[in-house]
């Protein structure tokens, strides 16, 4: 049984989804920042994909220079506030903190980071200026972490930047995907607005780019194009009953929860399929939406589960019931989901074997598929000049993120197959540098 009652209004929703890493106040920030040893060649920096100078920003907090601290953070990572809240810090910076070697709590880098970042956002302290216009224009497709980061970096070089975004709001999955107990929609949007205000890139909302002619038009109007469109819809499981109402993809379910909040459609007895972080999130969120029971069906063992340990612990804390070594064979129902049939599995020589004769049924009113997101190859395929490797992956230059022999650059989930916000930011900034080099060469010619 989960501990949460179905939220009936905004307040109850917020209570159920209260932040797991609440903001620090000034006292907490002073105490925590004073604990940092300011290591030489600090291992935490190397563990951050965006290479934030962590001891520097922490020292700036401890010496009362919050603006400087935020500048250190944003110089390396335009999603400084979001990342501080949503990064899997246990496996990144905090996991590398030297305090782990003496069984001391590592420095709470993420929370300190958001502390400084929030300060400049709330006080509207501009950290950057756009560069002098260089008369070149870049189009960006997708206003997620990758697109916005690329835009910021390019604006500082002096490029004119237009972002084309399919949806009606910025930050991509930061807003539509990341669990509400990590970051609120408002926090996500405010950071994007904070950046937009000082750097002045244009975001054209409700403007999906998906047709051949559209790409052609962009190619004609812009000197380079950056693609940061993330991943597609949830992958289908190809089993019977998948089209029943209330059998839903995890990303779609989570987006619904994030946008409609307490009004989102959520089941009373929910089975989540999958063993990744998205599955853990979906299960946690279903529990917090007031489900009586939430099961997590994963076809391999706990040890094989790709989700981070702490994400699984989070789900366990809200009473999600694991069903390891099980696999869905059929979803039953008459119009609506009524039950799911699961088969136990065994892993032999790395292969999952289904025990067909031991199939059992669980009554449920919702099935959430967290079985991965589609690649965007259909879309990328229509662009002239794109080349793919044997695995269907777009061939890019690993330093500049340029799709070979084109004026397209591509970074974030769309190319790394789905990672973290911090990775999307790091890649996008490299891509922006790639674009700058590419166009500077042209400029010099």
């Amino acid at each position: 049984m989960s501990d949460f009652r179905k939220p009936l209004n905004e307040q109850e929703f917020e209570k159920n989804f209260a932040p797991i890493n609440p903001p620090m106040d000034q006292t907490q920030a002073m105490v925590e920042s004073s604990r940092c040893l300011f290591c030489f060649d600090a291992p935490c920096i190397k563990a951050c994909p965006t290479r934030i100078d962590i001891p520097l920003f922490i020292r700036q907090i401890s010496t009362g220079n919050l603006t400087g601290s935020a500048r250190t953070i944003y110089e390396s990572n335009y999603f400084g506030n979001a990342c501080g809240k949503v990064c899997p810090v246990d496996v990144l910076c905090e996991g590398a903190c030297v305090f782990n070697h003496v069984n001391e709590k590592p420095i709470e880098i993420g929370r300190l980071q958001s502390h400084a970042a929030t300060y400049v956002i709330e006080n509207e302290i501009a950290l950057f200026k756009p560069g002098e216009l260089n008369k070149k224009r870049v189009a960006i497709i997708g206003a997620g972490p990758a697109g916005i980061s690329c835009a910021c970096e390019l604006r500082r070089y002096g490029y004119e930047v237009d972002i084309y975004e399919a949806k009606n709001c910025p930050t991509g999955l930061t807003l539509h995907g990341v669990a509400p107990y990590k970051i609120t929609n408002e926090e996500a949007v405010r950071e994007a607005e904070f950046l937009q205000k000082q750097l002045g890139f244009v975001i054209k909302y409700n403007s999906p780019v998906s047709k051949y002619e559209q790409f052609k038009k962009l190619e004609n109007e812009y000197d380079a194009i950056f693609i940061g469109i993330g991943l597609g819809e949830t992958v289908s499981m190809n089993i019977k009953g998948e089209d029943l109402e209330n059998c839903i993809g995890a990303v779609e379910y989570i987006e619904d929860v994030k946008i409609k909040k307490y009004l989102a459609n959520s089941g009373r007895k929910v089975v989540v399929i999958g063993g990744g972080n998205t599955a853990m999130d979906a299960a946690s969120e279903a529990a917090r939406m007031g489900a009586e029971r939430v099961w997590l069906s994963y076809r391999r063992s706990r040890a094989d589960m790709p989700a981070y340990g702490f994400e699984y612990e989070l789900a366990k804390k809200v009473c999600v019931e694991p069903l390891f070594n099980t696999m869905p064979v059929e979803i039953l129902g008459n119009g609506m989901v009524e039950a799911i049939r699961l088969a136990p599995t065994e892993v032999v020589d790395g292969k999952v074997i289904v025990k067909k004769d031991e199939i059992f049924t669980i009554e449920c009113d919702m099935v959430i598929k967290a079985t991965g997101q589609e690649k965007q190859n259909v879309l990328l395929d229509i662009i002239d000049g794109f080349e793919f490797d044997a695995n269907g992956k777009t061939i890019i230059d690993s330093e500049s993120f340029r799709a070979v022999n084109t004026k397209y650059f591509i970074a974030g989930d769309v190319i790394n197959g789905g990672s973290e916000i911090v990775n999307a930011v790091a890649e996008a900034v490299m891509a922006a540098e790639g674009i700058h080099k590419f166009l500077s060469k042209e400029m010099n010619q």
Partner: protein
């Protein structure tokens, strides 16, 4: 169980912990509360012609998240009428006959000194402390440190007091002098029975960088104040030691300055103090700290086998020598315990940039540094910066031979005499790989 009772220049006290003259000894109420909590004695907030104080008055220096590593005030002597103070003093003595109450005094003329000494003694004071230390506010009126900085004037005033005093007289010294022993000698020559030190250091605690005003701020302006608290202890310890070692003084010393825990107190006593006085730590944490102070001292004495406090007074003085008497043939070398090392590499940064380039970075991505023994001069720096208890130790070198001090070497002519003398201690310290310093330039 160790006996904490002491006799300081004839003043008996149940333990050596006294409240220094200051805000905690402002009233009879506070002092009774302190005695009730276990304090041995108290030096009353300096009495004299009552003053008028400013608001605000204090400022602190924090270190990291530690509050009030240093503390400063621009307060003057007692702002209460003399008769109120003395009436309360009389009351305290009724309740606590065993706990010494020392009257701290500061006035101007000979007549005034005679008057206040007599009044304080009549009220029941067990001793008198002459405040020649206050470094602000009073000195501008020719009192406090203005007196303490002039040995002749100090001596004269002490002698005025001695004309009428029947109780032991302690002279409280200002540290705002070049050589504190000059003041101490003057106190002795004037006839004083004991000295106490230090009073506060003249200081500017910091500046409000938004409004361009020194702290503490009084309606947009500030002034120099008196610095005290944990940060001043090392300077106070050295001054106590100088007075205790001087062959010309030989007076009991009450040690003051930054005492916050029992260990500080033990250090002052080992350096020659026979009582310690505490002000800032009480202003920070209240009278309750006395329990930690007495139990810490008594456990320490038990562990060392000291039966009485007097057994340990000045115990460290014989090992406190001049630099020229240190053994220059003695070498220590840093040693890193690889198992304890957490890889912060602070020792590397410190030694590489701030000392002798005697620490190398581990190979194959290891973050455990190693000591380059031939470069290590045994300076301690790495062991001081290492955040892990017992990870870097300074180990005695196996090749140590005999004793030879600078004095010995001077006597035998074995010292560098020319600018390029081959006897130079740092002869081998020449790094030839200059290019390695120029990473950015290249």
């Amino acid at each position: 169980m160790a006996d904490l009772k002491i006799n300081f220049a004839g003043i008996k006290s149940p333990n050596p912990f006294w409240l220094a003259s200051g805000p905690p000894t402002n009233s009879g109420y506070q002092i009774m509360k302190a005695f009730d909590a276990g304090w041995g004695g108290a030096v009353w907030k300096t009495m004299g012609l009552p003053v008028v104080n400013s608001s605000s008055r204090y400022a602190g220096i924090d270190f990291g998240d530690t509050r009030m590593m240093g503390f400063s005030n621009i307060e003057l002597i007692s702002d209460r009428p003399l008769s109120h103070n003395l009436k309360e003093l009389e009351e305290v003595k009724k309740y606590f006959p065993e706990n010494p109450v020392i009257a701290s005094l500061m006035v101007d003329t000979r007549e005034e000194w005679h008057r206040v000494v007599k009044d304080a003694e009549n009220a029941g004071a067990d001793g008198l402390e002459l405040n020649f230390g206050c470094p602000h506010g009073m000195c501008e009126r020719g009192m406090g440190s203005a007196v303490g900085q002039e040995p002749d004037v100090l001596k004269l005033i002490v002698s005025w007091v001695m004309e009428v005093a029947t109780k032991p007289v302690i002279v409280k010294l200002t540290p705002n002098v070049t050589d504190i022993t000059d003041s101490a000698i003057a106190a002795k020559e004037g006839g004083g029975n004991a000295i106490s030190l230090i009073n506060t250091f003249q200081s500017i605690m910091g500046v409000d960088i938004d409004n361009f005003t020194p702290y503490p701020v009084v309606d947009g302006k500030g002034t120099n104040g008196g610095y005290c608290g944990p940060a001043v202890k090392p300077i106070a310890l050295n001054m106590v030691r100088n007075c205790a070692q001087s062959p010309y003084i030989g007076l009991p010393v009450s040690g003051i300055g930054g005492v916050s825990n029992w260990r500080d107190a033990v250090e002052f006593i080992l350096m020659g103090a026979s009582t310690v006085q505490v002000c800032t730590a009480v202003m920070h944490y209240g009278f309750g700290i006395i329990r930690r102070l007495t139990s810490g001292l008594s456990d320490y004495m038990d562990s060392k086998g000291f039966a009485n406090v007097s057994d340990m007074v000045g115990k460290a003085l014989k090992n406190t020598v001049a630099w020229e008497d240190l053994n220059l043939n003695y070498n220590v070398i840093a040693e890193i315990d690889n198992k304890k090392c957490i890889g912060c590499m602070l020792c590397y940064a410190a030694c590489e940039d701030g000392a002798h380039q005697a620490i190398g970075i581990g190979s194959n991505g290891s973050r455990v540094p190693f000591i380059i023994e031939e470069n290590c001069v045994g300076c301690n720096l790495c062991s001081l910066v290492c955040p892990v208890e017992g990870c870097i130790t300074m180990v005695e070198s196996k090749s140590n031979t005999g004793f030879e001090s600078w004095k010995d070497r001077t006597a035998s002519g074995n010292i560098p005499k020319t600018f390029d003398d081959p006897l130079a201690g740092g002869l081998s310290h020449r790094v030839t790989e200059i290019e390695k310093a120029l990473r950015k330039m290249k």
